[in-house]
């Protein structure tokens, strides 16, 4: 641990004090560097590459800092650095759509920061002026500070009712940036919750069912909303909303089952981070994927991992989640059986969404490849570039299948049993069936249900009009025309001076005398 409290703000400290943070930090570092390498290739021809790298570096620094932070201020510094710099990545393409999404993102990011700031203040004050989050663990939470923290960090984490910016910002950013946004940066919100909300707190335990339900809702909402969209990156963003719902559930379970849920959560973070990154990177190169079998295979490997095919990382974490849920002593009105069947339904939904994604990607590939036919032949340099990108993606997908096993080994998590694997494969099969039926029967909702613009954008614009008004009501001083009055007065007073003064003298004399001197 590095103690900086004599240099930087009071209580400042950086360090990776426990295995959990250390792992999180290294994982983020590796993913950042990896995607950084990828964007080195993908942004090769970008005219605004300097700007990209600037914001990329700032985000990177912020993210690393916030994980290593031991005190609230350092965390907040990293958090806001990351949030604000990510704006630069979101609007990087500089299209009208990107700017719109960027505006929404920035509005919500700032709102989240202010909420987080207020929450941290209340916590710091309750902790008697100590800022390190380790000593906050023993300080009881208050409803106000808890809700401020949840809202502030939740706006970054992007689970259900706070997810507005995700489906807008992810599609418009460059592919590596969306990969990072979805893979690492939204996890910062979750990390903040883990740090600043002590799991053992009684209030937190009271709120756990609420969070569980929110997570569940988020998981379903993300899928349903995603099914109504046809843009691959939007679907991926909604999938993130859904996955963050599961993560929120895991977080909520922490306060019921204690530290046992922590490795699962970590594994989930790693799994989702890598799977979502690879899918985003793949979606970014969608047009180039046509016809190549192994490129398709890459996609399916990642997608199947997300669908929790047995032996995949997804299977590990989903099983872990179910086990934790079963072990938790939930309040009586929350039936474990119902919950776990809901989780199974969720798995079906997830699989459905990914199948939908596959279909949409194919459509994109088809249109793009039909267009690239007319494009001039690719040069050698760009061919190398492309090959390099695919190689990196391959590496990532491989890591996705391998890395979670190390976590399992390290934390000695139970491996999924055979029956559990069966339980995992059933939803996937069911989803495939459903999808096939759907396709065959041509089920369709009315067309206006698809690809709807998010109301958030509308409100964002409204808000912008509100805070950038052209004019404001202003109080105008009433003008009283005194000049004519003065002129008239002057005319009246313009009298023979001597006689009037003498007269005045006499009058004064008489009045004062009579008034009784």
């Amino acid at each position: 641990m590095i103690d900086l409290s004599n240099w930087l703000w009071p209580g400042a400290g950086l360090g990776l004090t426990d295995a959990f943070t250390r792992f999180w930090w290294y994982f983020s570092l590796v993913l950042w560097l990896f995607v950084g390498g990828f964007s080195l290739l993908s942004q090769w021809h970008d005219p605004r590459a300097r700007r990209y790298w600037l914001f990329f570096a700032l985000c990177f620094a912020g993210n690393m800092l916030l994980i290593a932070a031991l005190d609230a201020v350092s965390f907040y510094l990293g958090f806001s650095l990351m949030s604000l710099a990510a704006y630069g990545l979101v609007i990087h393409n500089n299209t009208a759509k990107a700017r719109r999404a960027g505006r929404l993102y920035l509005q919500l990011a700032l709102l989240g920061e202010i909420l987080l700031f207020s929450g941290l203040l209340l916590r710091a004050s309750a902790a008697g002026g100590r800022y390190d989050w380790l000593s906050w663990q023993a300080v009881p939470l208050e409803p106000l500070s808890l809700s401020l923290l949840l809202l502030g960090l939740g706006l970054k984490a992007g689970f259900w009712p706070l997810h507005w910016w995700l489906p807008q910002a992810h599609p418009v950013a460059p592919a590596p940036a969306s990969a990072l946004l979805s893979g690492v940066m939204i996890k910062a919100g979750l990390l903040g919750m883990l740090m600043f909300i002590p799991a053992t707190d009684t209030l937190m335990q009271q709120w756990t069912p609420l969070l569980l339900l929110t997570g569940l809702l988020s998981a379903f909402y993300g899928v349903l909303a995603g099914l109504l969209h046809s843009q691959p990156k939007v679907i991926l963003a909604y999938s993130s909303v859904s996955q963050m719902g599961y993560l929120l559930m895991l977080f909520a379970l922490l306060s019921l089952t204690g530290v046992a849920a922590l490795p699962v959560l970590l594994a989930y973070v790693v799994h989702h981070g890598m799977a979502k990154s690879s899918l985003f990177l793949y979606a970014g190169m969608a047009g180039e994927a046509a016809g190549r079998l192994w490129r398709q295979a890459l996609f399916w490997l990642a997608a199947l991992a997300m669908m929790a095919l047995p032996l995949s990382s997804g299977a590990l974490v989903k099983t872990g989640l179910k086990t934790q849920l079963a072990e938790a002593n939930l309040p009586a009105w929350l039936d474990v059986g119902v919950l776990s069947s809901l989780l199974t339904a969720g798995a079906v939904f997830t699989a459905l969404l990914l199948l939908h994604l596959a279909a949409q990607l194919r459509a994109v590939n088809n249109t793009q490849s039909s267009r690239t036919v007319k494009a001039p032949a690719v040069t050698k340099a760009s061919a190398n570039n492309r090959a390099g990108r695919w190689a990196l993606l391959t590496l990532l997908v491989c890591a996705l299948w391998v890395l979670p096993w190390f976590i399992v080994q390290h934390w000695q998590l139970p491996l999924p049993t055979l029956s559990q694997s069966g339980a995992l494969i059933a939803p996937v099969l069911f989803a495939v069936l459903l999808r096939w039926l759907w396709y065959k029967l041509g089920w369709q909702l009315p067309p206006y249900c698809y690809n709807r613009n998010a109301p958030a954008l509308y409100y964002s614009l409204k808000l912008k009009r509100l805070y950038q008004p052209v004019s404001q009501p202003q109080w105008h001083r009433p003008t009283i025309a005194l000049r004519p009055l003065e002129r008239r007065l002057n005319r009246v007073l313009n009298r023979p001076l001597v006689s009037s003064t003498a007269l005045l003298c006499c009058i004064l004399f008489l009045t004062i005398l009579l008034s009784g001197v």
């Binding site: 003065e486 001076l497 001597v498 009037s500 003064t501 003498a502 005045l504 004064l508 004399f509 001197v517």
Partner: protein, 472 residues
């Protein structure tokens, strides 16, 4: 010593009539000698207390008696110094302004009259001084030539009318009591209708001469029409003479019931002077008129302080009264000299003449602003001291919120008219070009009293002590 102070100006005025050529030299010499003597007198008085002199060795009661307390000697010193300064200014500008040869002997007579007034404690002697002052002042105003005839004539008539009123009062008192010496008279004083009538007559006469509201009508025209050095003298000193007598009358002669009855009138007149004079100064289009109206307003402070002093008998008000007189004398001298210099150089008598004066005549404008600061009462000037004493007195009396409000308003009004001119001076868009190259020396001379009034702050404690005790 007091005799020297009286005889020297008289003699020099006579000599000036004989040898007009050396008149300026003589006048300056006299003024400087008088200043030195006055300083001596002040030191003497502050060490040994009040001094009394009976002229020509006649016994008390018959002789003209002169009495110098520290207030009188302070005023004498002020008179002599201002005379010196204004003399210097007049000398420095006499080629340009074509001040008549009459100025020098007349200013000598003015000094004589004022000095005698500060020293007299006898109603008739005071009348003589008053009359002398009035005549000389009218003559000085008429030095400006034709354009000053009408204001000078008005001034003369009203001044005579005031003198008559005063004389009538004196006559009544003489008829009733047979004495005119103030201390003797005070010991025999009866507060009856007769004495009230006499007092009132004298008061009105004096108010008329001191241009106290509402009898101030003659002042703006007369002061504005006079040449700059003359208006400086008139505004700084001459109007203070009748005020001095007024204070003598009411503080030493009048009975308690009379005082109680008249105090609100004084305070009310002061209030009206402050507000209405201020508004007039703010609205008048002519530069010198503005300064003259400011005199009317500032005299309101003195009236207000007098009224409050009569009402509450709080020594702080006495200090405030005389501090106002001193600070105003110095500040107003500067104002008139500076404005006179600017209007003469830039050619014009409207306030708009001052446009861009901060560029063309920075020193004179600075002098005006500095003096204006004292008129407003910004710390640490003499005006601030006076206001501070007044405020302290009011707060100590408790519950005088109305008067406090009036003072705030009056201060703001004075700030408004001073800065009206100053803001114009900072106008760089279309400055008025000077008719000829501005001269430095007169501007410095104009600045001197302003600096003096700010320097008063350094002596604030002794001044306050002195005036609190000896406010007559």
């Amino acid at each position: 010593m007091m005799v020297v102070l009286l005889v020297l100006p008289l003699l020099s005025a006579l000599f000036m009539l004989l040898w007009p050529r050396i008149a300026p030299l003589l006048a300056l010499l006299t003024a400087s000698v008088c200043s030195l003597v006055a300083l001596q007198l002040l030191l003497l008085v502050s060490q040994q207390g009040s001094q009394q002199v009976l002229l020509a060795g006649w016994p008390s009661g018959l002789a003209i008696s002169l009495e110098a307390n520290s207030l009188s000697s302070l005023l004498i010193l002020l008179t002599a110094l201002l005379q010196l300064l204004v003399g210097l200014y007049a000398f420095a500008t006499h080629r340009r302004d074509k001040l008549g040869a009459g100025f020098w002997p007349l200013s000598g007579m003015l000094q004589l009259g004022l000095t005698a007034l500060w020293l007299s404690r006898d109603l008739f002697n005071l009348y003589v001084c008053l009359e002398l002052l009035g005549i000389v002042a009218v003559a000085l105003v008429s030095l400006s030539g034709d354009k000053a005839i009408k204001p000078a004539l008005n001034y003369l008539l009203l001044s005579l009318f005031g003198s008559l009123c005063y004389l009538l009062g004196v006559a009544i008192l003489y008829g009733a009591y047979g004495v005119l010496d103030i201390t003797v008279l005070a010991s025999q004083w009866q507060a009856d209708l007769l004495s009230s009538t006499a007092l009132l007559l004298m008061t009105l006469g004096l108010m008329l001469k001191a241009a106290l509201w509402p009898l101030h009508g003659w002042l703006p025209a007369a002061h504005a029409a006079a040449p700059a050095p003359v208006s400086a003298l008139l505004s700084a000193l001459v109007v203070k003479g009748p005020l001095f007598i007024l204070c003598l009358l009411w503080l030493q002669l009048a009975g308690a019931t009379q005082v109680a009855a008249v105090a609100p009138w004084f305070a009310g007149c002061g209030l009206a002077a402050l507000l209405l004079g201020g508004v007039s100064a703010l609205r008048t289009p002519f530069a010198k008129n503005m300064v003259a109206y400011s005199t009317v307003a500032q005299l309101g402070y003195a009236m207000l302080a007098l009224g409050l002093l009569l009402r509450f008998n709080q020594p702080l008000f006495a200090a405030a009264l005389w501090l106002f007189v001193l600070a105003h004398a110095l500040a107003k001298a500067t104002c008139f000299l500076a404005v006179g210099e600017i209007t003469a150089t830039l050619g014009g008598k409207r306030i708009s003449t001052l446009k861009g004066a901060s560029q063309t005549m920075p020193l004179a404008m600075f002098a005006f602003a500095v003096a204006g600061g004292s008129l407003i009462g910004l710390p640490p000037s003499g005006g601030f001291l006076a206001k501070w004493a007044l405020l302290q007195g009011l707060w100590l009396q408790g519950g005088q919120l109305f008067w406090l409000l009036v003072i705030v308003l009056a201060t703001l009004l004075s700030a408004a008219y001073v800065f009206r001119a100053v803001v114009l001076a900072f106008n760089r868009a279309d400055p008025v070009a000077p008719d000829f190259a501005p001269r430095i020396l007169p501007q410095w001379l104009a600045l001197l009293p302003a600096l003096a009034v700010w320097a008063m702050a350094l002596y604030s404690e002794p001044l306050l002590q002195l005036l609190k005790q000896e406010g007559l």
